[in-house]
């Protein structure tokens, strides 16, 4: 009989520390499946962020590096330039990629580093306890916006993917969502393309993933998925950006 489903080789058989209903675990698994399917487990080097996914290297079963908060794309640049034959990707939260690491992000993109970026937009800082992120929605309550995000005080949700799309060296950007199985399948296709682009030497590719954080959205997991679809996607429309 043909085997059609199994535990990805690139994912260790351990339980994760993520909250119930968190999107990080799904995104980790998609990456592991893709690494297996592309046959690159022995070539891939992941760069983990500082954020809830800080120990992603305990879940993936391939070579990985840590990076200081926000510096993943500088670290990835160093790795990829030294070992262009390897497949290098970063996995970063919104605080990591679009606040403290904005400079590293924009310049790695502008140099056209041939790396793959997986960007987890959960509209909050998960790891530090639910503070405002650059991507927090207007009106969204967080511990540092107790009355909701306000334009006057906090500015608008930052659309870093759209900003990066303006750079000529950026080759592929897509925003996907984890709110339903069909969307998860589309997310996987986008991530796969972002890896394939690197294999084909096409250049900087980024996939932004709208990902639930039921804990700091203060919602049960099912409601968090609906919130992505009904609220978050209005501000962050999914689809190909570049």
């Amino acid at each position: 009989m043909e085997k059609v489903f199994s535990h990805p080789k690139s994912l260790r058989n351990v339980s994760t520390h993520y909250c119930a209903g968190c999107g990080h675990g799904i995104a980790h698994r998609l990456i592991a499946e893709i690494v297996d399917e592309l046959g690159i487990r022995e070539r891939v080097i992941g760069v983990a962020p500082v954020g809830c996914a800080v120990i992603a290297y305990d879940y993936w079963d391939f070579d990985c590096s840590e990076a200081a908060h926000g510096r993943a794309l500088a670290v990835a640049t160093g790795i990829k330039r030294v070992r262009p034959q390897n497949i290098v990707f970063t996995y970063q939260g919104d605080g990591d990629l679009a606040a403290i690491g904005t400079n590293e992000t924009i310049h790695a993109a502008n140099r056209g580093e041939n790396v793959t970026v997986i960007f987890i937009n959960n509209a909050v800082y998960g790891m530090t306890g639910g503070q405002m992120a650059p991507t927090t929605l207007l009106g969204q309550k967080t511990t540092t916006t107790p009355l909701g995000r306000e334009i006057k005080l906090h500015g608008y949700p930052l659309k870093i993917s759209e900003m990066l799309a303006l750079l000529p060296a950026v080759k592929y950007i897509e925003r996907v969502s984890l709110h339903s199985p069909p969307e998860i399948i589309k997310a996987k296709e986008a991530i796969k393309l972002a890896f394939q682009n690197q294999i084909d030497n096409i250049g900087f590719s980024l996939v932004e993933i709208l990902s639930p954080c039921p804990t700091y959205w203060d919602m049960p997991p099912k409601k968090a998925l609906d919130w992505i679809k009904e609220v978050m996607m209005k501000e962050f429309p999914i689809g190909r950006i570049k």
Binding site: D63, S65, E66, R71, G78, N86
Partner: protein
Amino acid sequence: MSKKILMTGNEAIAEGAIQAGCRFYAGYPITPQNELPAYMAKRMPEVEGVFIQAESELGAINMVFGASAAGARAMTSSSSPGMSLKQEGISYIAGAELPAVIVNVMRGGPGLGNIWPAQSDYFQATRSGGHGDYHSIVLAPSCVQEAYELMFLAFDLADKYRTPAIILGDGMLGQMMEPIRLSAEHRTPNTEHRKKWTLTGCKGRSPNIVKSFYMVEGDLEKFNLTLQRKYKTIQQKEERFESLFLDDARIILVAYGSMARIAKSVVNNLRKKGKKVGLVRPITLWPFPQKAFTYNLSPKTYYLVIEMSYGQMLEDVKLTINGKAKVEFLGRAGGGIPTEEDIMNKIKRISV
């Protein structure tokens, strides 16, 4: 014998690095070390190495983190304000036990200070600099030839102990031109041991992880104790210094880097006049060369510490001598450099 060529300190450091097998450089422009990245930009492509002008010192040091994790001999350079930005990355490099070489061509501070030579970043270099209980190995060249030579040692020690090594120079050394001999020993750097832990893809082995994060209770303390043992070994084995006339010296000048050249010239002049003066020139600032301070320890001996700062190495000298001899200090910073005359005057005051 290879012929002598004329080079600035900054260029000699860059060429030394290349000869020592450095194949990755990332940096951000800042005076007075700009000749160094310019040299690297030209030279790296010739040896199939990587040169990147980074978006900031934060970017540069973290690129070095990645390049080192991927197995290259990697370095960055900067001057004082830029070094402050690199501290985050140096702490992570120490914590992840990565080798890396970081050059600081010091200028005046604090703040933007000015671009004149200074030695005011001694504390930053020899203490942790960034957060956490760590040390970088710190080497202080005092002439262009030595700046070139010490690059070999810096990369070797960084590799051997898997730790950051800092070259602590100053604007005078960086800008000064001197004829030097490129040893061109054609050394092939031994990077064999790196293969065990570097990130190359997990072909034929279990995955490698480069990290400084220890979440499980007790693990970080265990790791810190490992680091401390490593630092103890470095202290036991890697002290280096140059000395002059210690056997009978009554006044011993202590200076490093460019400052030591001026001190040395004073010592040689006074010796010609029969004065019992001597010199200690630390080459490793961390580990601080304690063995250099075991001579003539008596209340009648003076150690005169001379720095282009207001007394930073002074603290290490005092800690080392621990009251067993007298310690005096002469220092200027922010544009001023203690001159031979200043030193002579100070010695006159001490000896009466």
